[in-house]
């Protein structure tokens, strides 16, 4: 049985941390605005040089704004886990009645809220800077966004599995791991642009179907439920595997002593 009082306690803990750590507030707004300025302007430049492709700016901005869902989903799981290690608070948490599943759920809730804030801010800035309206995708943005968020969670739990075992020694993966799937997710270009070997990998990445689906809506106005179903199907499998992997590594780490990570 999940105890939601304890889940809520951990969500509060993460929010309190957010209040005291300006870095954590900044990453909700700073990186999205830097990306929007840099890549939005690149898109504008290409659109001006090549009038045959008027979609340059929307394609890039779609990729940027929607990528936030994956990035935040993954990042929040890993950074909140690392926070407990940095603060030497891990043993306090794990020697309390909190269950690992409740801890994981708190990551998802807190990450989901931060993702919504970050996303709303980016969407607003994209509209302000480039008159790009994310709602051109209609209500389909909800399932597409959800699918990307689940991809982020799956990557997050997979990375968390390594962090709970190896600790701070490999903490860089908390920031870098998700970037491994960017090229195969094809957020700014079509999957067909990729070399054949990369296309095979891309087929196994749920986010590639989401970005393909979004571009299809952008170019043709048609909503592709097939792509969405495939992405959810793959996400379902990966999320289960990544949660299992995290629990497996958690138990392996417990055998060695979780106290060694502090």
């Amino acid at each position: 049985m999940i105890n939601f009082n304890r889940v809520f306690a951990m969500v509060i803990r993460d929010f309190l941390n957010l209040r005291h750590v300006p870095d954590r507030l900044a990453d909700m707004f700073y990186w999205p605005i830097v990306d929007l300025l840099l890549w939005g302007l690149v898109g504008l430049y290409f659109a001006q040089k090549n009038s045959n492709f008027p979609y340059a700016v929307p394609v890039i901005l779609t990729g940027l704004v929607f990528w936030i869902a994956i990035w935040r989903g993954q990042f929040e799981i890993n950074i909140n886990l690392l926070s407990e290690i940095w603060d030497k608070n891990l043993v306090n948490i794990l020697a309390s009645p909190l269950k690992p599943i409740e801890w994981m759920l708190s990551f998802l809730i807190f990450g989901g809220i931060k993702m919504l804030i970050s996303l709303a801010f980016s969407a607003f800035m994209a509209f302000l800077l480039y008159h790009f309206n994310i709602f051109i995708y209609g209500f389909s943005i909800i399932p597409f966004m959800l699918s990307l968020l689940i991809t982020g969670w799956a990557v997050g739990f997979f990375v968390a599995g390594f962090l709970i075992y190896f600790g701070q020694r490999i903490q860089t993966i908390a920031w870098s791991a998700v970037f491994l799937i960017i090229p195969f997710s094809a957020p700014y270009y079509s999957v067909s642009t990729l070399p054949p070997w990369a296309q095979i990998i891309s087929k196994a990445i749920p986010s590639s179907y989401v970005f393909e689906g979004l571009r299809q809506i952008l170019f043709t106005g048609n909503y592709s439920s097939d792509k969405l179903f495939i992405s959810f199907g793959l996400n379902f499998v990966y999320l289960i595997l990544s949660v299992w992997f995290f629990m497996f590594m958690f138990e392996k780490s417990r055998k060695l002593g979780l106290g060694r990570l502090i």
Binding site: F8, I12, L16, K88, N89, A95, S96, P97, G257, L258
Partner: protein
């Protein structure tokens, strides 16, 4: 007969080739304060971490309140708590924020009241708005102890509870723990390097060395295992005669002018004093220090190093 509320059976922890805890069994009764004594690396902290469930045992069983820990983890952890010098609370959260989070984790109904009462008991109400990283080592230890008492625990596991505290505060905390035991029948398992603390607080002591329990008893019983005592004599005349008596009896002694410091078996004290009297060697001043738990601990450490 008091109830056993913690029972450990054949607990073993092996890290690769290193046997950190070697098949230990012990129990803790309701309202009992049990001390864990032993040199560094004896297996005390590993045992406590297994009792908290953050380290998995290689073999053995742990029962709290007659329930298997492995199968009733959540229910048991609600009723116990711990404090250790090796851990911390979130560095940037204020004392009140951290304690509020833990009070919620332990589902304390009267959170604010409980936190206020404990902060007052530990004389740290003034720290409530301070961030944890801004506190002194002693203040941090006291905040961690407040966290440990938050959930009205039936069992407390304390790893070096008064380390880094000023002596007057350490005494107050010891008194608080003893009061909690008296009033609420709280059981405590504590490790400490402060022998006077162990002597003062513990009903029973387990001595660990190389992961094994090598002795068990009251602090007084263990101290009695060390038979050597220290005798100091001030001898104004016949110093050479006195020296030869000590040498004939093969005693270890130091001489500083008229003052002799002699280490000898407690049983030989009367015999030596008799020999001095027969030889007409008079002494002006005499002091005899009986062995205490510290002597016992030093003996264990020496044996470990040998």
């Amino acid at each position: 007969m008091k109830d056993t509320i913690l029972e450990v059976k054949n607990l073993t922890k092996q890290f690769g080739d290193f046997l950190a805890v070697d098949n230990i069994s012990f129990s803790l009764k309701a309202g009992e304060i049990l001390g864990f004594l032993g040199p560094n690396g004896a297996g005390k902290t590993t045992t406590i971490q297994m009792l908290l469930g953050v380290t998995g045992p290689t073999a053995g069983e742990i029962f709290y309140f007659n329930k298997e820990f492995k199968k009733n983890r959540e229910e048991i952890l609600r009723q116990i708590n711990f404090s250790s010098t090796y851990i911390s609370l979130p560095w940037l959260l204020t004392v009140s924020e951290s304690l509020e989070v833990f009070a919620r984790l332990y589902e304390i109904n009267d959170r604010k009241k409980r936190i206020k009462k404990l902060l007052s008991e530990f004389e740290i109400e003034h720290l409530i708005k301070k961030q944890f990283h801004m506190l002194s080592a002693g203040e941090k230890t006291r905040v961690l102890l407040v966290k440990a008492f938050l959930n009205y625990p039936k069992i407390l596991l304390l790893d070096e509870p008064t380390a880094s505290l000023d002596p007057d505060i350490a005494i107050k905390i010891r008194e608080f723990i003893k009061k909690e035991r008296r009033e609420y029948n709280v059981s405590v398992l504590l490790t400490s390097h402060n022998m006077s603390e162990v002597e003062d607080m513990c009903d029973r002591v387990l001595v660990l060395n190389h992961g094994k329990i090598i002795e068990e008893g009251t602090p007084e019983m263990l101290a009695r295992r060390v038979s050597d005592c220290r005798m100091e004599l001030t001898i104004p005349k016949n110093l050479e005669r006195a020296t030869s008596i000590f040498e004939e009896n093969k005693l270890t002694f130091e001489r500083d002018r008229m003052r002799f410091k002699i280490t000898l078996d407690e049983k030989k004290v009367a015999e030596i004093l008799m020999s001095l009297a027969k030889a007409r060697v008079n002494y002006d001043d005499i002091s005899i220090d009986k062995p205490d738990l510290e002597d016992y601990f030093l003996k264990i450490v020496r044996e470990k190093n040998d």
